[in-house]
Amino acid sequence: MQNSRRDSRQGSGRSSGQPSETAAVRVRGLRKRYGAPRTGYKDAVAGLDLDVAHGEIVAVLGPNGAGKTTTVEILEGFRDRDGGEVAVLGEDPRRAGRGWRARIGVVMQDSRDMSELTVLEKVRATAAAYPDPRDAEEVVAAVGLEQKARARTRGLSGGQRRRLDVALGIVGRPELLFLDEPTTGFDPQARRSFWDLVTSLRDDGTTILLTTHYLDEAAQLADRVVVVRDGVVVAEGTPGTLGGPEARTPVVTWEQDGVRRSERTDRPTALVARLIAAAGPDGEVPGLTVTRPTLEDVYLSLIGESEDDGTGPRTDQDDDTAGGAPAGTEAA
């Protein structure tokens, strides 16, 4: 499903000539600092550029504290910025009104609402504020909560509550949906069905800006991935091309005289053939592996969590790297 994506990489470079209407989100030089004179300041966002085209799904990746949530909350109109230009659906979130809010959907990271309302009542009450909402029962079914439709939200499990958050975010039929780490706490099956839901929203024409820790989620859903580190974009591209061809160069590793060797090459087959020729009479190359760096390897090298840049002994780890949280995430 990652094939046949529209080429939506107009965000690389500063193609600022286009009218703002064509971009759902357009951010230039965004800055936000926290702190006080006594404690010192910290730039949470330090000159960030971001574009999201209409109908596109963009995933923002980055370690905790990289500025993802701050950026998203500025776009949602929850926070003021200290500098830069922001246009969301053609409006500045600082000044946008109800009509603008009716066109966006927000799924926040930190709601732990303990309401005495039932799931369906809660979704209906939220739908009431929108001019053209989706059917509440259909939305509840779409997030897989039909069994819990008449249960009080107080009694929901963490994953169920998260799905309710998603239902509340989409019931207003938003043109642009913000999903801040939406599948945290989901079991694998719930994540799969959530991905299906996001895909169906995209088919409906919804533009989605997603932040996530999960690389497989970004690879599965996103047309484009933006990697943020220390408040700036360090790389962007489709999940298949992120980091450029260089980062995707296969790595061949083998053992020679008891020492582990590795080599990056665009022609791994030729290298393996040479190794075989140089091997002993049985043609066996000890410890031979050929690895293409995964999105996770590329990502880790981009955010500087990998000391060896993906070329060293790391590559002989097992291939089951998908799905885990990135290493070394510090508390935000």
């Binding site: 926290y34 109908g55 929850f78 005495e116 504020a129 001019p131 043109e175």
Partner: protein, 293 residues
């Protein structure tokens, strides 16, 4: 997801954009009523609020009237009333503060802490509709609560209710002004608790102390002057005094600290609190938690 649009080739996002302006945003008043319905449903399902907010003054009246019911009547200058009648105005005043100040301050503090306020802010719900919903909640609960309180007093404890329209007029303005002041104070005070967990204690304690020092449980004549002076700075003392002027014989006015019902001062103090709390509340109201940026 269900959509009226079809033909994927035409791009449904464009269709969605075209569709939105055609439908109008729901009105502020209508959404206020919707919110009011939501608030009331949550209130009646929350056992704590029913016991400690709604039933409290009625239960207290029943207990005190039963325990002290056989004691000598309370007399001032030869006019005497039963204990239940003497106790009723204070419970009416307490009920007003519970259904307004206490209910709103706790519920808003909890909603702010658990993120529901922030989530509401992310929707096109106008802030006015949110507050209108709180007004519907407070007004409904205080009306039902006061009606029950008067019914219990009259039917179970034989408290004579006034038959003079002038007294009911006094009741009406003290009730309305007290309710409005209590509600606005509740909204303003909701920013004081640092977390949802501490909200109950931080909100209930001052009101509980004021109940003792404002002449709700004890006759004001039993309290030291400094305590009365201090309590006179707060609305509860004045709502209680206003209600005493409704439910007690006029002879009881001499038992007030000033020797009179002081209707004008009552109106003035409540109005000042209303305005100050409105100004402070609108300036300090936050949709997000204290620690959220």
């Amino acid at each position: 997801m269900s959509t009226a649009t079809n033909s994927p080739a035409t791009g449904t996002a464009a269709a969605a954009r075209g569709r939105t302006p055609a439908r109008r945003l729901p009105g502020t008043l209508w959404l206020g009523l919707v919110r009011g319905g939501v608030e009331l449903r949550e209130y009646v399902r929350e056992r704590d609020s029913i016991i400690f907010g709604f039933a409290y003054p009625i239960v207290m009246l029943a207990i005190f009237a039963t325990v002290f019911g056989d004691d000598d009547p309370i007399a001032v200058d030869g006019t005497s009333v039963s204990f239940a009648q003497y106790f009723l105005p204070g419970m009416v005043a307490t009920g007003i503060m519970l259904s307004t100040y206490q209910t709103l301050a706790i519920s808003i503090a909890v909603e702010r802490d658990d993120g529901s306020l922030k989530r509401l802010r992310a929707t096109p719900l106008p802030p006015a509709s949110y507050f209108l919903g709180k007004v519907v909640l407070s007004l409904t609960t205080v009306l039902v609560q006061t009606a029950l309180l008067l019914a219990v007093a009259a039917l179970l404890f034989d408290v004579p209710l006034p038959d003079d329209p002038a007294r009911w007029a006094t009741f009406a303005w003290v009730f309305v002004l007290g309710t409005a002041t209590g509600a606005v104070c509740g909204v303003a005070y909701s920013s004081v608790p640092r977390s949802g967990r501490s909200a109950s204690a931080v909100v209930v304690t001052p009101l509980l102390v004021l109940q003792f020092t404002s002449g709700v449980f004890f006759s004001v004549s039993q309290l030291p002057d400094w305590m009365i002076d201090l309590s006179s700075l707060f609305p509860l003392k004045w709502i209680a005094q206003g209600m005493r002027s409704v439910f007690l014989p006029d002879a009881f006015a001499v038992a007030e600290p000033s020797g009179a019902w002081q209707a004008g001062t009552t109106a003035a103090v409540l109005a000042v609190w209303l305005i100050v709390a409105l100004v402070v509340g609108t300036r300090t109201f936050r949709w997000r938690r204290h620690d959220d940026g």
